[in-house]
Symmetry: D2
Subunit: 294 residues, 4 copies
C-alpha cells in the first residue's frame, strides 16, 4: 500500500468486458467472479443490439486479498472469455490512475481539477502539469503539483515541443487531460503517447467546430451555449464524446459574457469526464462512448 | 396474444429480486436465467450497504416461448431464492399493466397521459378514467377511454363515493393514478384497493406540504417551483417519492403564472413516474424508492 | 369588443421601438406615453452597443379608451420618433394575433399548441390548421378548429400546393407556424405570404442541420439532444433563432428513443416561441432575435 | 480613481427607485436622468400590482464626469422623488462594494468566490476573510486576501466572538457573506453590523430547514437536492431568498454523495447571489427579493 493508495477501495477491482453479444455472458462472468472469491458490488451492462450487437459490461467487485489474487483471476478471465471472443480489463481500483494535465493560460479547468483532487473527489494521481505558458505555474505549485513549462513552437511543425512533452509523460501516466490547452495535437504525438487523451471543447459539439466557438455562437444567436469533453483522435473535434452540458444565454450576453458563463460549464463537464474515466466508467466503441455513470 | 399485447415485448419478462444482500446473488440469478433458457437483456442492481444491507435487482430477460415456461421459471425462482431469504416478482412484459386514472377538473396531467398512451409511449392499458366532475368527460371519450363520474361527498366521510370507485377498480386494475384528483384518499380505501396508487403533488416535496403549494411558494419567494410524483400512503404527502422536477420562476411571476408553469412540470413528472412504474423500474423500500431508469 | 377579445388586456398596448441608439430615447418615449394618457406597465430595453449600436425597446402600457386613442398616439409616435430615425410598432394587445398552423403527420407539437390555446395560455386566434396529410384532421376538429387538407406535390416544384395554402392564409393571418410540417417552404411562398413564419427544428441548431437530426445525433454520440424554434428564411435552418432547449440522453437511447424524448422538447420550445411572438416579445434584427421574455 | 476602481464602469451609476406605484414614474425618472446629462444604458422595472402596488426600478446610466455631478443628481432625485413618496439609491458603479467573507472549515464556496474575484468576475473588494477555524488560512492568503481567525465560543452566548468580528467589519464593509459559516448569527450582531448579510443554505429551502439537510434529504428520498442563497434575518433560514438551484440525485447516492454534489450547487448559487447583490440587482421587499438579473 503506497502513499497514493485509495483506502476505501482496497480489495476492489473494476472489470470491463466487451465484445460480440451472445446469450449467457452475464451468467458466465458472474460465476467467474464468485468462483474467484469476489462479490459483485455494482454491475452495469449494455448491448447495442440484442441480436448480434456489441456487449459492454462494467463490474465492481470486492475480493479480500485482491492484489495477490489478480494473476489467478486474470488467467481465469483469459480462459473463460477468450473462447467467447470477449475482451476484458481488470484493474485494482485502490491504485489511482496517473494523469498529466496540459494547460495554456486559462486557469478555470485546471484549477477545478486540482481543487477537486485535493478535496478527494478525483481518484487520480497528478504527477505533473505541463503548460506552454508560465501563467499558471504558481497556482499549480501551491497545490504541491510539479509544473513543467514547455513552450510551443510557431508554425505547423510542433515536433520539438511535442517530443519534450513525450519525454515527460511516456510510460509515466495512464492518460492525459487537455485543460484548455490551446495547441493542436499531432497524430504522431497521439500514437507515441499511447494513452487516452481527454480534451474539453468550448462548444456544444458538433456545433461550432474549430476555433472561436463563443464568437460563432454569438454570431448565430443561439440561446444556449455548451461544452464538450471528448477523447482526442486524429480528426480535430471529432473524437468520441464523453460528456456535454449547456447553459442558457440571451441576446444581451456579449461574446465575453458567453466566454465567462461558458467557463463554468467547461470546468463542470471536464471534471465529470475525468472522474468517470478514472473510475473506468467510460468504454470507447468506434466513435462513441458507453458511459456507465448511474 | 390479446388485442392489448405489446408486440415488441413478446417473450420478454421483467424479474425483480430484493432482500438481504449477500455474496453471489447476481451469479445465482444469472445462472437461473440461463438454465431456464433466458438471455439477460438488461440488468440493474443496487445494494444500500455492501455489508449487511438490502439488495435490489431488475433484470429484463428474453426467453422464447416465455408464456408456457413461466410456471417452471417461477418454481425455480422459489426453490433458488427462498432459501436465500430473497423475494422476487416475475412478469410477462408483453401484457401491459392496467391502470385507472382518477381526475377532477384539471386536464393537463390526464390529457398528457392519454395522449402519450395513444402515441404508444405508455406501456399500459387504461380501462377507465374516473372523475368527481364531468368537465373532462368529453375529452376522455374522444380517446376511446370509458369515463365514469363518481361525485365526491361533502365532509370527511367519503365512504360512499370511495365504495363506488372501489366497485369499479377492485380486481380490475393493477394500479391507480391520481392525475390531480383533488380528494384525500382514506387509508381504508388504500387497504381495500390493494394496488399501488401514484399521486402527483404540485410542489417540490417536502416543501409546501398540503394545499395551495403555489400560493405558499409565491409567499415564500422561491426561485424554483416543482412537482413530485409519489406513492400514496396513509400519511398525506409523505409517501415514497418516485420522481421530481423543477422550473425556474422569478419575482414577476404571479401565483397564477406559477400554477400555469407548474402544470408543465406536473405532467412531465407524472408521465415519467407512470412509465417507470409500468415498466417495473420502481421498487418500494420503506419510505424510499429504488428507480432503475437509466 | 369581438368574441376573440382578451378581456384582461383591454386598453393595453404593446409598443416596440428600435433603431440607432442615442441618448434620451427612453426619456422621450416615456414622456410620449405619459402625455398620451398611458401608464407604463412593463418596459424592457436593450442596446447592442452603448456607443453607436442598435436600440430595442418593448413597452406595455395601459391607456383607458385605448382603441379610440390609437390614431392620435400613432401620429405622436410618427412625429416624435421619425426625426430620431427610430421605427415603431404599436398594437392593441386585447386583439389576439391570428395564426395558421401547418402540420404533417406528427401530432405532438400541433396538439400541444391547440391544447394550450384552449386552456387560455396562447394569446392567439387559430382560424385554421393546414396539413399535407389527413392524420390529424379529427383531432384538430375536436378542438373546434377548421382543418384543411392540402396534399403536397412530388418533386421540387411545389408551386401548386403552395398557391393553395396562400389562398387560405393571405390577408387572413398574422403569422404562420410550422408544427413539424415536413415540407420545404419556397422563398417565393415566403415573399407572397408576407407574414412571419415560425418553424420548429428537431435539433439543437446549428448542430445537425438538414434532415434526420436524431439519426445524426445518434451517430455522433452526443449526450444531449435539443430543439430549435426559429423564423423561416430563404436559407434552410439558418433563420433567426427564437428559443432552444435540450434534454439529456445516454448511449442506451436508440434513435427512436431520441425521437420520442426529443418530441417533448420540441413541443415545449415551439409553444414558448409562439407565445413570445404572440406577445410581441420577439424583435428580429439581422439574423438574430431580441427576446424580452423575463 | 483608486487602485480598486473598475475601469469599464467609470462614469456609470446604478439608480434604484422603489415605492408606491403610480402613473408616470418611468417618465419622471427618465427625464431626470436626461436633464442631468445621463444616458440610460439599461432599465428594469417591476410593479407587483399595477393598481396600488409597489414599484421597483433599476437603471444603469452613463454620465460623463459622474463623480463630480453626484451631489447635484442626488439633490434632483430628492426634490423629484420625495414628493411622490419614492425611495432611491444612487451609486457610482466604478467603486466596488466591500465584502467580508466568513467561513468555517469548508472551502468550496470560499475558494469559488476568491477565484472568481481574481478572475475579475466579482465586482467587489474583499478586505478580509474571517473564520472560526484556521483550515482555510493558507489558501486565503495565497489570493493576497487578509485572513483573520476568530474562534467561536461554546454555548449560546457568542457575544465575545461576535464582538471581535464586529470590530473587524463595522464601518469597513458594505456587506457580509457567510460562505458555509457554521455559526448562528445573533440578531444583536445583525443590528450592530447594519449591513446586508448573505448566507448559503445547503438545501432547497423551505425544504429541510435547519441542520443536516443532506441527511434529511437522503431520509426523505428526494430525487433533487439544492441550495439557497438568502439574506440573513432574525428568523433562521427564513430570510428573503436571492437565488436557488438544484441537481438530480438517485437512490444510489449516499448522504456523502449528496454533500459532494451539493457543494457544486452551493458554490454556483452563492456566487450568483453575491454577484447580483454587488451589481445592485437585488431589491429586498418584505420577505421577498426582486432580482433584475436578465
Amino acid at each position: 500500500m503506497t502513499a497514493s493508495t485509495i483506502p476505501h477501495l482496497v480489495d476492489h477491482a473494476s472489470l470491463i468486458v466487451h465484445g460480440p453479444d451472445q446469450p449467457g455472458i452475464v451468467s458466465e462472468v458472474a460465476s467467474l467472479v464468485t468462483r474467484n472469491g469476489g462479490n459483485i458490488i455494482s454491475l452495469d451492462q449494455y448491448s447495442d443490439d440484442a441480436s448480434g450487437g456489441a456487449f459492454f459490461q462494467r463490474i465492481v467487485m470486492h475480493r479480500p486479498g485482491l492484489a495477490a489474487a489478480l494473476p489467478e483471476i486474470e488467467a481465469d478471465l483469459d480462459a473463460t472469455l477468450a473462447p467467447m471472443g470477449l475482451e476484458w480489463r481488470l484493474r485494482d481500483m485502490s491504485e489511482p490512475l496517473r494523469v498529466a494535465i496540459l494547460a495554456s493560460k486559462s486557469d478555470h479547468c485546471l484549477l477545478d481539477l486540482l481543487w477537486r483532487h485535493r478535496r478527494g473527489e478525483l481518484p487520480v494521481t497528478i504527477p505533473m502539469v505541463i503548460s506552454n505558458h508560465t501563467d499558471v505555474a504558481e497556482d499549480v505549485r501551491s497545490f504541491g503539483v510539479p509544473f513543467f513549462h514547455v513552450p510551443s513552437q510557431q508554425g505547423p511543425d510542433k515536433s520539438q515541443s511535442e517530443a519534450e512533452i513525450l519525454k515527460l509523460v511516456q510510460g509515466n501516466v495512464d492518460f492525459l487531460v487537455l485543460a484548455r490547452y490551446m495547441q493542436v495535437i499531432s497524430s504522431d504525438f497521439l500514437t507515441k503517447a499511447a494513452v487516452p487523451v481527454i480534451n474539453i471543447h468550448h462548444s456544444f459539439l458538433p456545433a461550432f467546430i474549430g476555433a472561436g466557438p463563443y464568437r460563432k455562437a454569438k454570431e448565430r444567436g443561439v440561446k444556449l451555449i455548451g461544452a464538450t469533453a471528448h477523447y482526442v483522435t486524429e480528426d480535430l473535434d471529432e473524437g468520441p464524446i464523453i460528456e456535454q452540458d449547456v447553459v442558457r444565454v440571451t441576446h444581451a450576453d456579449t461574446a465575453a459574457d458567453l466566454q465567462s458563463r461558458g467557463a463554468d460549464v467547461e470546468r463542470a463537464v471536464l471534471s465529470r469526464a475525468v472522474t468517470w474515466h478514472a473510475q473506468d466508467r467510460v468504454i470507447r466503441h468506434g466513435n462513441h462512448t458507453i458511459v456507465f455513470n448511474s
